[in-house]
């Protein structure tokens, strides 16, 4: 057979970065598994998103806010003391915790809020786990004068009080969700219920690379700024790409954001770190890829923690942001094709890494990225000194000091 396609289209066809397909699928994962009531809204969103992408004015507006409001680009920090302590590969931190609101979440929120405004929506609903996405969403709603309702599991409201207060200060209504275990999964259900009941004026601002198409793609695109910058910065610092990139995964938006620009760089190993909770085989884990199997929840097919009858199980993690029984569909696909590797880190290991990072680098990481760091601490010593690891430090840990104090037996 003669290959008649142009070099560009054939290179795209061979690219791992061209997904999803028109059905919103990454391999068998993704899709649009929602009630009919929502389907027209997803088409409308898809159209609005494509139109925004194609409009240079949109890009210009987003760049303006990313630079002057979010504070991008975020630095790439050579963690010299940690590197010395681990005695192996050079460890770099992508400092997403320095963004306004203290995490990578604002990258996506800023993009989506501009889309929502173009669609003429006046009310925003969102789900949140650790509260980072909720705070980011409440922040842009304050900035643009939009009504904001945040759904948060009652358990998470309890363990993330500072973020709840922050959202209140920003003028958002925080609705605690008592269904289920009162964590992110239940907040997601409730946000979807709100959306379907208020479609005329309401935009559902999804915080991670999950949900029905086009959310996984759109959130990934807005988060890819992390990887794009990392590529430039590491090339400038080291004259080459890193050997390994590590990121923690709940739904997987910070990981997808740093992975995606590197998907076609086969020599860069990508490692996603799931929360193993009490241990991968403890039954109390949030490791959807390691311990789940494919199924359908919250609008997409992906790896899910579920029983043999297809009932979704409660996830468990010390970190509210990782406490989710699913994972973004693109990660499920990257796992199945072997492009990325997914490992587990326990609550205990994350707590240890949290303290090491604080002590050696003077950076208090969010418990979410402490999971990533714990894995870096396992692999860096086994690597050569001229090898390079980049860890996505996706959020700062101020919000977690109460949880950490509690686990260390300190009363604040």
């Amino acid at each position: 057979m003669t290959n008649t396609s142009s070099p560009l289209s054939s290179s795209l066809a061979n690219s791992l970065r061209s997904g999803p397909d028109e059905r919103g699928r990454f391999g068998i994962f993704g899709g649009r598994f929602v009630a009919e009531t929502l389907m027209p809204l997803l088409f409308e969103l898809d159209e609005a998103y494509r139109a925004s992408q194609a409009d240079p004015a949109f890009r210009e507006e987003l760049d303006y806010y990313l630079k002057d409001y979010v504070g991008r680009p975020s630095p790439l920090w050579f963690a010299r003391h940690l590197t010395e302590e681990l005695g192996g590969a050079k460890v770099y931190f992508k400092r997403e915790e320095l963004n306004h609101t203290g995490s990578h979440k604002l990258n996506n929120v800023m993009g989506q809020i501009l889309v929502a405004r173009r669609m003429g929506k006046t009310r925003i609903v969102a789900e949140t786990g650790a509260g980072q996405h909720g705070v980011a969403t409440a922040t842009v709603c304050a900035l643009f004068g939009l009504k904001c309702t945040i759904y948060m599991g009652a358990t998470d409201v309890e363990r993330q009080k500072p973020n709840v207060f922050r959202m209140h200060l920003l003028g958002a209504e925080v609705k605690p969700v008592t269904a289920g275990a009162g964590t992110l999964k239940d907040a997601m259900n409730e946000a979807m219920r709100d959306w379907v009941a208020n479609i005329a004026d309401t935009y559902f601002l999804v915080g991670t690379v999950a949900g029905p198409h086009p959310y996984p793609e759109m959130v990934r695109d807005f988060q890819s700024v992390i990887g794009v910058e990392t590529k430039e910065q590491i090339t400038q610092a080291e004259g080459r790409l890193p050997d390994v990139i590590v990121a923690a995964i709940g739904g997987g938006s910070n990981a997808m954001g740093i992975f995606h620009p590197f998907l076609d760089d086969a020599d860069v190993k990508l490692i996603g770190v799931e929360a193993a909770g009490h241990g991968l085989d403890s039954g109390k884990t949030a490791a959807s890829i390691s311990r789940g199997r494919p199924g359908v929840l919250h609008g997409n097919r992906t790896y899910l923690l579920q029983d043999k009858h297809g009932q979704i199980e409660e996830a468990h993690s010390l970190s509210a942001g990782l406490d989710y029984p699913g994972i973004g569909p693109e990660h499920s696909w990257l796992n199945d094709i072997g492009r990325a590797e997914y490992v587990g880190v326990t609550d205990e290991e994350a707590l240890e890494a949290f303290q090491v990072c604080t002590r050696t680098e003077g950076i208090i990481p969010a418990l979410e990225c402490a999971h990533g760091l714990a894995h870096v601490m396992k692999i860096a010593p086994t690597m050569a000194k001229d090898q390079i690891i980049v860890l996505n430090v996706s959020g700062r840990g101020d919000k977690d000091i109460f949880t950490v104090a509690h686990h260390l037996g300190v009363k604040l």
Binding site: G31, R32, M192, A197
Partner: protein, 270 residues
């Protein structure tokens, strides 16, 4: 003709619409829900919808969420729901049974196996809330082969052109989700329905059942006249939940639901 076609044809002869009560399987336990299911036709059910409990019913309001949790606590599985239908069919071979639920338990059971087993058990149709037309190829061929109707859902947000797309290959009947919202919360007015139904009938000749937010006999009567059937779910479950003690069935549980069903049926027949 399928049981669903036969039933709607007979009702057309009678000159009235259908009443479709809903119960959640195993709510609050297997025996009680089976007893209720068996008694529903005599109390005026023309078709029956059985809810398949799911851990994350994201299109349902608080009443059905609670019912699903009770069902799961009582050990509900898709297999057990089919067993319930088989038990019902031992004494009723005419009343159409439609299962309503979410995709993941079916996906987990295996789409082909499920369609085969469901049809064998005497299920006539399935409503999968989170499986829109665009994803229906997962079940379509298997359902067709098994002689099972996949009941299409349409909503107020479904545009005229999309109605044609969604209903092109529809079978059984059409389920009109009459409000933009979750089950058992707000209700559509008669005027809303008067506007919506002609739009739907343009796109299909199948009977149209109206559901979501129908709770009173008056609403059931209106919906069954403007449409071809009224689905009543949360209102019946609320009544049932009110009879439970510590989450368990009492002597009042089945009679209370049946009494309400009789009232609804009388209104639909009036």
């Amino acid at each position: 003709m399928s049981r669903i076609q036969t039933r709607f044809a007979a009702l057309k002869q009678e000159g009235r619409g259908a009443l479709i009560p809903y119960l959640q399987a195993c709510d609050p336990d297997y025996d009680t829900s089976l007893e209720l299911l068996r008694a529903m036709p005599a109390a005026g059910a023309d078709l029956i919808e059985i809810g398949v409990p799911f851990s994350d019913p994201s299109a349902d309001g608080p009443t059905i969420q609670a019912a699903a949790l009770r069902g799961l606590k009582a050990g509900a599985t898709l297999g057990l729901v089919l067993q319930m239908v088989r038990a019902f069919r031992e004494m009723d071979s005419e009343t159409p049974i439609v299962l309503m639920g979410y995709l993941n338990p079916i996906d987990s059971y295996g789409p082909a196996e499920f369609c085969f087993d469901a049809a064998q058990a005497g299920v006539d149709g399935i409503i999968v809330v989170d499986m829109p037309t665009e994803e229906a190829d997962l079940l379509d061929a298997h359902a067709r082969e098994a002689g099972l109707d996949i009941i299409s859902l349409v909503a107020p947000t479904t545009s005229n052109s999309r109605l044609f797309h969604v209903l092109r290959d529809a079978t059984g009947f059409v389920y009109y989700v009459s409000i933009t919202g979750i089950t058992g919360t707000s209700s559509a007015s008669a005027a809303d329905l008067e506007k919506a139904l002609p739009r739907i009938r343009e796109a299909t000749s199948l009977p149209v059942a109206v559901g979501f937010g129908i709770s009173t006999p008056e609403q059931a009567r209106t919906a069954s006249r403007i449409g071809d059937a009224a689905v009543v779910a949360s209102a019946l479950i609320k009544t049932m939940a009110g009879t439970l003690e510590d989450g368990r069935a009492t002597g009042r549980t089945v009679p209370a639901v049946l009494a309400q069903l009789e009232e609804l049926a009388a209104a639909v027949r009036a």
